[in-house]
């Protein structure tokens, strides 16, 4: 029952987001039905576009999973963007430096990205566990440290042939793109990263729900002191949790920078990092939910170009819709209040509201 209600709230948040998008289209003098039709077509019209939707969703699955995993263990990882950047930097560095056959190089590239992200998550995890530094602030700082590190390292060591602001193109041997998959989807951006993301979803779901470590991680998230009392090493679990979250986002960096793209540009904070928060919230912080919501956001992002070409609606509409969905997910209590009013009538809703608030606090409170 509780799960059903949470799903309903998430769906209502999506509806409100789409409604806000429609309103903006109307305000700019466009027909929203037409706009959404083109958005859908742009995302799903043919094999190539479906492939692009999956490719766009791939980094979102991983950053969403990163945020969701941290949430489940009581931490707020707002640093997925920075972890992605460092993951991408490590992948690019390995891919451009080593000259090996694809079979050996590609696993190394992916491993480097994962490790890079893990280190970027380790620092805030350590600061949180050891010094009780709030991970939100620490990860924001790590984001910008990653941003400026990439900003100086790429032109310094891996400068592109024509532009100062991007790295050299990685060779085919270091790319997650493979011919058979690209051809299967008529030359789309889809790459092996998609399968890595699916595997990651399964692994995290298994870890959280079926293993002792997963239980310990969640226990520390619910109540650090109680779990310490029960003999769980809270410090170790906090560090481990942030490291794993960072590793997932770092892998997200690999699938984006050496999968979807084939070089790295400087001066760009990847939006997938923050979109990951939306993905996680909408997916109710569960791994399979993350997969579903990442595919949805992937479709919005990959369809927006087509919509823009057909209707002159600016592509930023997709980002606005996603941002609105996050806002309404954060303000879930508002939706729950309305929900209670509609379903149970006014009198009962007062009691239900209080219970709901507790539930909501419980759900998001772990993040604090």
């Amino acid at each position: 029952m509780k799960i059903n209600q949470e799903c309903a709230v998430a769906l209502i948040a999506v509806l409100l987001g789409l409604l806000a998008g429609a309103l903006l289209m109307v305000l700019a003098g466009n027909n929203p039905f037409q706009g959404y039709l083109y958005l859908l077509q742009g995302g799903l019209m043919n094999a190539e576009r479906i492939g692009n939707t999956l490719a766009t969703a791939t980094p979102l699955i991983l950053t969403g999973l990163s945020v969701a995993f941290a949430f489940k263990t009581g931490l707020f990882n707002i640093g997925a963007a920075g972890q992605m950047l460092i993951g991408g930097l490590a992948a690019t560095a390995v891919g451009l430096t080593l000259d090996l056959p694809k079979l050996i190089l590609l696993p190394l590239v992916v491993l480097a990205a994962t490790l890079g992200g893990a280190i970027w998550g380790l620092v805030p995890g350590f600061l949180k566990a050891r010094f009780n530094v709030h991970e939100v602030v620490a990860t924001i700082m790590m984001n910008w440290i990653a941003y400026w590190t990439v900003y100086y390292i790429i032109p310094g060591y891996f400068k592109g042939a024509y532009l100062e602001t991007e790295s050299r193109k990685i060779l085919d041997a270091a790319s997650l793109k493979v011919d058979w998959l690209t051809n299967l989807f008529n030359g789309s951006y889809i790459n092996l990263g998609f399968f890595l993301a699916i595997i990651a979803v399964w692994v995290i779901a298994f870890l959280l729900n079926r293993t002792v470590s997963g239980y310990e991680l969640k226990a520390v998230g619910f109540n650090r002191h109680a779990s310490e009392y029960a003999g769980i090493n809270a410090e170790r679990n906090i560090i481990l949790s942030m490291m794993l979250a960072g590793a997932l986002a770092g892998l997200g960096g690999a699938v984006f920078y050496v999968g979807y793209a084939s070089n790295m540009q400087i001066g760009v904070m990847p939006t997938q990092g923050f979109d990951g928060i939306a993905v996680s919230l909408l997916g109710l912080n569960s791994p399979w939910g993350v997969l579903a919501s990442a595919l949805f956001f992937g479709m919005l992002h990959s369809g927006k170009g087509f919509m823009n070409a057909m209707t002159r609606i600016p592509p930023e509409i997709a980002d606005t819709i996603i941002a609105t969905i996050i806002y309404f997910s954060a303000a879930a209590v508002l939706i729950e209040r309305l929900w209670e009013k509609v379903i149970k009538g006014k009198k009962e809703s007062v009691n239900a509201l209080e219970i709901n608030q507790d539930e909501t606090n419980e759900r998001i409170g772990g993040a604090r």
């Binding site: 700019a28 707002i78 009780n132 930023e316 606005t320 941002a323 303000a331 209590v333 909501t360 604090r368």
Partner: protein
């Protein structure tokens, strides 16, 4: 070295001022108990609305359009921050998620609107703020060259706001109440203070100041709305922590950050500075903030109830 200082100083100050006013806004919000990581987005809102207002008005009133733009940004920031206030105060939303949503909505929505208006998504203004020497004071030895030549009026405006903010926070009943709400809202409530009202006001002040900060970027050194303030809102947040949630601390921190960033920006062209790697200078503010957080982890001056929704029933 002296020439270098004189050269760099006006730029460092121009870079510091928007940071300072935004961090001051964050100070009000956090001191009342509401974490506002939406500062970045609120700056973008001010950046956009002032650009729009000035671009529309400068044809008719070229001289005063800049000031109208600043005012518009102030109001737009305050209004936009109501979204954050409503979610955090009335709906007990997670303040970090709400702030993130504010950042994303502002970034996407302003560019969406700008594209509908100009097509390219950029809004260019012709008349910015003019640099002026302060008569008399600019003749002072040493200080005159550094602080009173080539200054923007907005710099003095922001310094004025800093003084007034300090006075309000520490010398008035409202300031005492605001700080009480950030330390122990239940106690404040039992003393008859309306916690919700104070927090609403504080969040709106933070929105207004951040909006003003965005507008100052436009009228001083940018001259064009391009959809992003490049992380200055987050830098302001770092300055707020580095300044340990105190007005004067924030002044010092923002000036420090502003100076470091300016040196990083100009180090390419000035041989004396080219030796310091830019990567260190640019990362300096963030590293320092992390270190400060570690050092003060035992004795942090952070408002105690910051980030917690106010729950009347809780003790």
């Amino acid at each position: 070295m002296w020439d270098l200082m004189v050269q760099v100083f006006p730029y460092a100050i121009a870079f510091t001022v928007p940071l300072l006013i935004t961090a001051l806004g964050g100070l009000f919000s956090e001191r009342s108990g509401v974490v506002n990581i939406g500062l970045e987005g609120l700056m973008v809102v001010g950046f956009f609305s002032s650009a729009l207002a000035i671009a529309e008005l400068e044809v008719f009133i070229p001289d005063s359009a800049v000031w109208v733009g600043l005012l518009v940004a102030l109001i737009a920031g305050a209004l936009f921050s109501l979204l954050h206030a409503f979610a955090c105060i009335n709906l007990n939303a997670n303040q970090v998620i709400s702030g993130t949503a504010i950042n994303m909505i502002a970034g996407a929505l302003t560019v969406y609107l700008a594209r509908n208006i100009t097509g390219s998504g950029n809004i260019h203004i012709i008349h910015g703020m003019v640099r002026r020497n302060i008569p008399g004071l600019s003749q002072l030895p040493i200080l005159g060259k550094l602080f009173f030549t080539q200054t923007y009026a907005t710099t003095w405006l922001v310094l004025g706001i800093l003084l007034v903010s300090w006075f309000i926070l520490y010398k008035t009943a409202f300031g005492l109440r605001l700080r009480a709400c950030g330390e122990h809202p239940q106690a404040a409530d039992s003393a008859g203070i309306n916690v919700y009202r104070i927090r609403y006001l504080a969040v709106m002040i933070s929105g207004a100041f951040a909006g003003l900060g965005g507008a100052i970027i436009l009228v001083t050194y940018s001259g064009e709305f391009n959809g992003s303030v490049a992380g200055l809102g987050f830098l302001a947040l770092a300055a707020l922590i580095f300044g340990q949630w105190k007005p004067l601390g924030i002044l010092g921190a923002t000036f420090f950050f502003g100076f470091a960033s300016t040196i990083a920006n100009v180090s390419q062209v000035i041989p004396a500075l080219a030796k310091i790697p830019g990567i260190l200078l640019k990362n300096f503010p963030y590293l320092v903030t992390l270190i400060v957080l570690v050092i003060f982890s035992k004795s942090s001056q952070a408002p105690r109830a910051s980030g917690e929704p106010y729950d009347k029933g809780k003790r």
